[in-house]
Symmetry: C2
Subunit: 130 residues, 2 copies
């Protein structure tokens, strides 16, 4: 497990929970891709990704709390594939807490400033093939 | 879909079927990682990967025929995440043809010579989390 990538993922989860999306963008590469919805609704680049997170927060009644469970990392040079059990907890419109589990696929890249950032954020994992 | 990556995957499937492992190594980056078996039995670099493929071929009674079904690619710059339905067909010890289906996760990188090569080859996909 790459500790820097693990910390970036934990920080991202915390920043999403606190809706601090400007700071969240620091965890993404400039040309990162976020899968918004299956099969292939994508956000590309920080501007689109930030805008997508604002909409995602609203969709989850501004109560989204992401967290990771089991995690596997495969590392080669400046690239890491992360497979992660992801829990998305939020309140529904009746303020009842709901939780869903996904198996996410992330790609992290080591950037020129020495920081690992998310280049591909696919919380849907292989379910994009469904 | 990136056509060069698609062709590389098709070529790799053909070369595995024909057990032409020296040529197969052309489809991998120098520091590529292959998942041999869950949870994390890995081959790193062309020498280990080639040796692993010789053993895999033997394990499948020298009759392995890999093929891809549904496929999704997520591309950012010089990196592509490939999610692919993978079919592994082979003859068992009684020469009866058997087939298994997996959901593979590959990372392809654009190399300095302009060729896309596989940097992470994980035919087990998210089942590494099981």
């Amino acid at each position: 497990m790459n500790e820097d990538v693990l910390k970036s993922i934990e920080r991202a989860d915390q920043l999403i929970k606190e809706e601090r999306f400007d700071e969240l963008m620091e965890e993404y590469t400039d040309d990162a891709v976020l899968v918004i919805a299956p099969p292939l609704k994508l956000a590309k680049g920080k501007e689109e990704i930030k805008s997508a997170f604002v909409k995602i927060a609203k969709y989850f009644n501004n109560s989204l709390k992401p967290a990771q469970g089991k995690m596997v990392m495969l590392e080669t040079g400046d690239t890491i594939l992360v497979l992660s059990q992801t829990f998305l907890t939020s309140d529904n419109q009746d303020s009842v807490e709901c939780s869903m589990e996904r198996r996410a696929t992330y790609i992290y890249r080591l950037c020129h400033d020495g920081k690992w950032r998310c280049a591909i954020d696919n919380s849907y994992g292989s379910t994009l093939l469904d």
